[in-house]
């Protein structure tokens, strides 16, 4: 008797389940973890904001196009991972097994992608990564994870060397943060420079909690290199910007890796940023892209005139566009989405993207320069909206 009752109720539940998705009003549940608190909290908004802009843009259109069979709105399920990879693992397990989300989107940063890779693999949930960059990502088993970023350290090294060469740079000073992405860049940059015959006249690494660069920069000034390459994160980028001016570093090419593409940074330094080269491959006016202007305007509207982070927010939005287009082709069947991501070519604000294995195989690593207060893509040349110019004297 009990068993029969149980079977009957199971059947009913099953039928309800079948009925469920066909109701047009049901939103698509997409889950992700966000670093709201902890070490990466300051970076978190650049990701979350882009997700929110994408959600609004999609929902304003009437929702996600589900494989050509009508539209469904997007609903987010998000939790704070406290910048802790293990917490991110738990969140994705919860999203998938207990919240029963339809799809998942990426968490913040390289380490979290590594952490959750086994989870999405195990549950066969496709995930388009963003904000993760490391050559080690290529060791992730191809299958359910793809990485949108063009900023792989080996590609960056190649492009950086090419750019320096095109500018006739003969000597460089290198400074870098000990953290993963920065130091990994150096791993590839040094051999590339050596091969191109560019001399490294000064090299120094520093811990993430550095408070002063005067000593280091005084030594750099003494070497008088053609280019100064600072592989820094926002906090140390600010140190460089202030103290390089004090010490009077006047190299014609000055590269500050992470920071200048973020809005607050430009607010802090204004015209002093002119001529600084940074890591970014996008600007609202970038040609041959899909939705750049719309994204830029929607972002500014949603966040009271603040600009998106030209590096991270952009990459996050690209990953969302890819997911959106894959769903438009394959519907919500995750296996079909996977095949779609593997085979399709996507139109994004980065331009066309196609994956080869886990990696974005089209978008090249690139650099932008702040020119008259605006961010212009300056490298590689075929994508550039402007060409690299010499950094003039510091404004003030």
């Amino acid at each position: 008797m009990l068993r029969r009752l149980l079977t009957a109720s199971l059947v009913i539940v099953g039928m309800l389940g079948l009925l469920g998705p066909s109701q047009a009003a049901d939103p698509v549940k997409i889950g992700f973890s966000i670093s709201k608190t902890g070490l990466f909290a300051p970076a978190g908004p650049s990701q979350l904001n882009a997700y929110l802009v994408w959600q609004k843009m999609v929902n304003d259109k009437g929702g996600l196009d589900i494989g050509g069979k009508g539209r469904r709105k997007v609903e987010f399920v998000q939790y704070d991972d406290k910048s802790d990879p293990a917490q991110a693992v738990k969140i994705y397990e919860k999203l998938i097994t207990s919240d029963k989300v339809d799809l998942v989107m990426a968490p913040w940063g390289t380490q979290h992608h590594f952490a959750i890779a086994p989870v999405v693999e195990r549950h066969k949930f496709p995930l388009i990564g963003n904000t993760a960059a490391s050559v080690a990502l290529r060791k992730v088993k191809p299958g359910y994870l793809w990485f949108t970023t063009p900023m792989m350290p080996d590609n960056l090294a190649k492009e950086m060397t090419a750019m320096l060469k095109s500018r006739g740079v003969k000597s460089v000073a290198i400074m870098y943060n000990l953290l993963q992405f920065a130091s990994e860049n150096i791993q590839f940059l040094k051999p590339a420079l050596a091969k191109a015959g560019i001399k490294v006249v000064f090299e120094a690494k520093y811990p993430p909690d550095i408070k002063d660069m005067t000593g280091m920069l005084t030594k750099v000034k003494g070497k008088n290199p053609d280019a100064v390459l600072v592989h820094s994160y926002p906090g140390d980028s600010i140190l460089y910007m202030n103290q390089a001016r004090e010490v009077g570093i006047n190299a014609k090419t000055q590269y500050v890796m992470v920071g200048p593409a973020i809005g607050f940074f430009r607010g802090m330094f204004k015209s002093n940023l002119d001529g600084i080269v940074t890591m970014a491959a996008w600007t609202p006016g970038l040609k041959n892209t899909t939705g750049s202007k719309e994204f830029y305007n929607a972002y500014k509207k949603m966040f009271k005139g603040h600009e998106p982070d030209y590096l991270d927010s952009v990459e996050v939005f690209v990953s969302a566009q890819i997911l959106e287009q894959a769903i438009a082709k394959a519907g919500l069947d995750r296996e079909k989405i996977r095949q779609a991501v593997n085979s399709m070519t996507f139109d994004t604000i980065y331009g066309k993207i196609k994956f080869n294995g886990v990696q974005n195989s089209i978008t090249p690593a690139g650099f932008a320069q702040i020119q008259k207060g605006k961010i212009e893509v300056v490298w590689p040349k075929q994508r550039a909206t402007s060409s690299v110019v010499d950094k003039g004297a510091w404004a003030k």
Partner: protein, 306 residues
Amino acid sequence: MNNSLRLIGTAAVIVILASLSGLASEYMLGIGFTLFMYIALAQSWIILSGMTGYISLGHVVFFGSGAYVFVLLWGLVPVWLGVAISGLVVGIGALMIGYPVLRVRGPYFVILSFGLAELVKNLVLINEARMYMSLRPVFGAPPLAQLYIAMLVLAVVATALTYWIRRSRFGAGLRSIREDEWAAETIGVPASRLKLIAFALSGLIPAMVGAIFIMRSGIFQPGDAFNPIVSFTIVTMAIIGGSDDAAGPLLGVAFLVILQELLWANWPEIYMIILGVLLIGFVLFAPGGILGWCSKNLSRSKKNAA
């Protein structure tokens, strides 16, 4: 009679918890893993700080060092052997640095322990950056069910160890050091030696916990592995539990982990704030921790009943 009953009960609970590894959902196992992890860590903390009064604000140094040793061995030795070696190496390391470190007392020791963790973190960071290995993925870790069991074992061992030490001659010595180190030496307690042993024991299990933890997180990064928040969490859990006995951490950890699970799942936006408010409330209204509060209120109600 009473004792053997208690023993059987404990064994039964452990067996049930272990058998959950095959039954419970992944999410539940994940919670169990966190629970056991912090039980093992908080119990280890009690062995040093609860018993001797040398409050360590840098216990993550053992956790992170264990994780580092383990990740260096990853792929070179069998997984569980690697875990054991990590514990051993860190335990020996603790013995070597323990003597000078434990000469420093009171608030000086509190900050010293924190500084030690930061020092080791930065040394590891420099070393890793030198090899361009600032981030090491751990591919092919054992499934969660196995990690869950391993963490359960560590939690049980740590709890048993604390329970035993609390009732042993060794523990009596440690506790007299906490109360008055000078007077303890006067009655013949070899304080330096006992503190050193406690320090090493207190580091052994967290090192193994750290090793297992990075199989769960799938990644080793010095900044994560030596995150000071871990130290703070351990201290918080142990103090909220109250007392220098094994029951304290069990209560404190269970309370905080379950609370966190309830809060972050249901109030993702403000759970940290609620958590903070609760912490403050605890200090103000139950300064003896859960155990202290229970014993006070239970004895009061007993008195009222009588």
